[in-house]
Amino acid sequence: MKLNPKIIAIILVVVFGLAAAGYDRWATPHGMKPVTANSKTVVYEQAPDLSFVTLEGEKYTLNDLPEQGVLLHFWASWCTTCIAEFPDLLESVVRADGKVALVAVSIDDDRERMERYLEKSLRKKASDNVDFPSIYWVWDEGKEISLKTFNVLRVPETVFINSQGEMVKKTIGEADWMGSDMTAIYAGFAQE
């Protein structure tokens, strides 16, 4: 076979043409866009409009709450991590001054045990913060909110919901409630 320069040229053009044409496509995998926590390119899931009843017997839905942001916090009185972080959590909500609501959903099996903890232990550590108006204490009877709606079995977990009802973040386990990250999230809620 005579070496035909045309054939070589065609093969070269095809190989390098494919490489060049495909470079942009391959350099960035499909659908990948740079995102940040606050970036609008992220589409957050909408939180269900939960209804809940507080320990005082008042009925609310998430959309009813006057605060801009909501912390849907799952906890239990037997959970040492939950107990340890509660004073900071309550303090952070109080500092947000009505911009952030805390819906504290207890997954305790026994309502009385939960109430006993609130009255005898937490009130001593967190004093008046327990009664702050933006804090809603809920006992999740029948695990409707925790297990059925959010698949929560382990605590503490907290879902952050913004004023548009979007679930923008979730923390699992102990969180740094007084840290700068949390302050920034609260500030973001306040600006909405």
């Binding site: 076979m1 494919l18 995998p29 899931e45 029948g142 695990k143 709606t149 079995l153 979730k170």
Partner: protein, 633 residues
């Protein structure tokens, strides 16, 4: 660690035996439409793929083939997930080595297939021996001992996959009417783990009361409560099942970017991945399980469709649904198998042309070769689209691509010469490489993720593609060398054909040299960018240079006239040896920066190939020399 594994094995055996002793599933294998189920996305080995691919890879690992005689891979996986009683009895473990069977006391069977219950029981009875084997340093175990430990791992993996969805299986029976009333469920209800957890407060009260009683004072309700508690405890142990990642991640930024870690169903509960979306997914999975267990085909179809849509919606735009659908189709079409059949068909038809109607047979053979090439090319392109990367990134893909290049080259040769030579080269080389490729395809997921060193698409598309085109051209030149020597042996007087083969050999050698040199230089530039040096005497680099030097010597010698056509043809045959050593051989060394392509168990085949090629050259040379002497005297 080994102690923990032994305890786990005991649990596995216990669970398996218990399931086997329970009523044998009354269900025949349901003849469902598994398409929507097979299309469900799952993350495995760092890549989101259809459940169909996952099932094929897993089944191949256990059984040695991607389907059972009477069951597709997705059907097998569905049985594993929803009806373990049947799955544990299905003979899917392929144990062919008699030494392994003897070691664990299993009887030899001609078909080499054993079920989960018998294998796990046999392993448990030999737990101490396995413990000792595990303690041996690598390299000191025999082949059979390695296979035994591999079997041990497979049994665990099988159990882990089977228990992946146990949290939504309705296996907790509440038959006692008093217990049912206290739990606020209907008597005879079958609850799954999640449903049972909703009734936990009432159940705990009952269980505590029952435990406090003297065993003689226990009533049926107490015993039923304790039995239920035992079932709940057994299910809770399945939290270790993390292999089957079916749930798209939601709660981190990487999830939104599409590169987050997917979650196994149990991990959603245990690691806090839950959300309203996962709750809805679990509801769908639970409905699918019920449809399977009740044999309700219509319910199965609608639920599988709903589940597929919801999983895609939950994964969001980050999931490439088109690539997922293409991969499912790619699996179904099995393009490379059909292209192999077409290549073999082309070869057979071409030979049949010797018996009569040669023109017709040539056209038919060329059509078959072209058809095979088309299927081959579509398969390679489909893989490029699915993986969003150039055609060659793994050893398996290099085999596919070299095969395609070889066949394309052969088709060009045939179009130029129209003398059957191109068809012969394409059919032989194409089928040989496809056959070797099929062997590699069974070695796990053939679309594995890239090693970090390769994850640079521009260079993959230039250096690797160029160098593999060079391999393909070398292969064509090598086959031409074989043909030359065969013609020289059987038709030494056919000067015209020998001259034609000589010219084509030189042309193919030049093209191969061009791509080998270009590819090697491009590789050097890539190495300079990635590793900070152009050349490092790495085995793969040495292999590439060896090919280039070998071809330079041959081509230069031939063009300069110092190498006669016969010697040139012999050299071209040996090019195959050089290429095979550079392509596969350096991977056996498992050293150097290119050891990502490490392959074991090919040394014998590679050695055999090289020996046969060398013997072929020597045999032909001796015959031709002897024939010349005979002619001269």
């Amino acid at each position: 660690m080994r102690k923990v594994l032994l305890v786990l094995l005991s649990i596995v055996v216990f669970a398996g035996s218990a399931a086997a002793q329970e009523q044998k599933s009354v269900l025949a294998t349901p003849a469902f439409n598994y398409e929507a189920f097979a299309r469900l996305p799952v993350q495995h080995e760092g890549r989101v793929k259809p459940l169909d691919t996952f099932a094929r890879v897993m089944l191949t690992g256990f059984y040695g083939q991607a389907s059972l005689p009477d069951m597709s891979a997705p059907a097998w996986l569905a049985e594993m997930l929803f009806d373990q009683e049947s799955a544990y009895q299905r003979p899917v473990f392929n144990i062919a080595n008699p030494d392994v069977l003897t070691a664990i006391g299993l009887k030899y069977r001609p078909h080499h297939r054993y079920n989960f219950v018998e294998v796990s029981q046999a392993l448990r009875q030999n737990a101490e021996m396995l413990d000792r084997l595990g303690a041996l340093p690598e390299g000191e175990r025999s082949g059979a001992q390695e296979q035994l430990l591999e079997l041990y791992s497979k049994v665990f993996l099988y159990f882990e996959i089977a228990r992946s969805l146990s949290l939504i299986l309705p296996v907790l029976n509440v038959d006692d009417p008093v217990l049912a009333e206290k739990l606020n469920v209907e008597a005879g209800a079958k609850l799954n783990y999640l449903e049972m957890m909703e009734h936990r407060p009432a159940f705990l009260t009952l269980a505590e009361e029952a435990i406090a009683k003297n065993p003689d004072d226990m009533e049926e309700t107490d015993q039923a409560a304790l039995y239920l508690g035992h079932g709940l405890q057994r299910l809770a142990q399945d939290q270790r099942s993390r292999f089957l990642r079916l749930v798209p991640p939601q709660w981190d930024d990487s999830a939104a970017a599409g590169n987050g870690e997917w979650l196994a169903p149990w991990a959603v509960l245990a690691d806090g991945g839950g959300s309203p979306q996962t709750a809805a997914l679990f509801d769908d999975w639970a409905a699918l399980a019920i449809a399977y267990r009740t044999g309700n085909e219509q319910h199965w179809d609608t639920t599988a469709q709903t589940l597929l849509k919801r999983t895609k919606d939950t994964a969001g735009k980050a999931l490439n649904s088109t690539a997922l659908a293409t991969e499912y189709r790619y699996n179904q079409l099995d393009l490379f198998r059909y292209s192999l059949i077409a290549y073999i068909g082309a070869f057979v038809v071409l030979l049949a042309g010797g018996l009569g109607r040669p023109a017709l047979m040539r056209r038919a053979a060329f059509t078959l070769l072209g058809g095979g090439m088309f299927l081959h090319a579509v398969g390679v392109c489909a893989r490029m689209f699915i993986m969003a990367r150039p055609p060659v990134a793994t050893l398996y893909e290099s085999i596919l691509f070299v095969g395609l290049v070889t066949v394309i080259f052969a088709v060009i040769l045939e179009l130029r010469n129209r003398n059957n030579m191109g068809i012969m080269i394409g059919a032989v080389a194409g089928s040989l490489l496809q056959f070797i490729g099929m062997k590699y395809a069974t070695d796990g997921d053939s679309m594995g993720m890239l090693q970090a060193v390769l994850d640079t698409n521009f260079w993959l598309a230039t250096h690797v593609v160029t160098i593999t085109i060079g391999y393909g051209c070398c292969f064509v030149a090598g086959v031409l060398g074989h043909l030359y020597l065969l013609v020289k042996v059987f038709h030494p007087a056919d000067k015209e054909r020998l001259n034609m083969l000589g010219r084509n050999m030189l042309g193919a050698g030049l093209v191969a040299l061009f791509f080998a040199v270009l590819g090697t230089i491009l590789g050097g530039i890539w190495a300079d960018q990635s590793w900070g040096r152009f050349w490092g005497w790495d085995p793969k680099e040495n292999g590439a240079m060896l090919i280039a030097l070998w071809l330079i010597w041959l081509v230069h010698g031939r063009v300069a006239g110092t190498l006669r056509p016969l010697a040139f043809a012999m050299g071209m045959v040996l090019t195959n040896v050089v290429v095979a050593l550079a392509w596969f051989g350096v991977n056996l060394l498992n050293v150097g920066l290119h050891s990502y392509g490490f392959t074991s168990h090919i040394a014998a085949n590679l050695g055999l190939f090289c020996t046969l090629e060398i013997l072929f050259v020597i045999g032909c040379a001796l015959y031709i020399k002897g024939h010349r002497r005979g002619t001269t005297s």
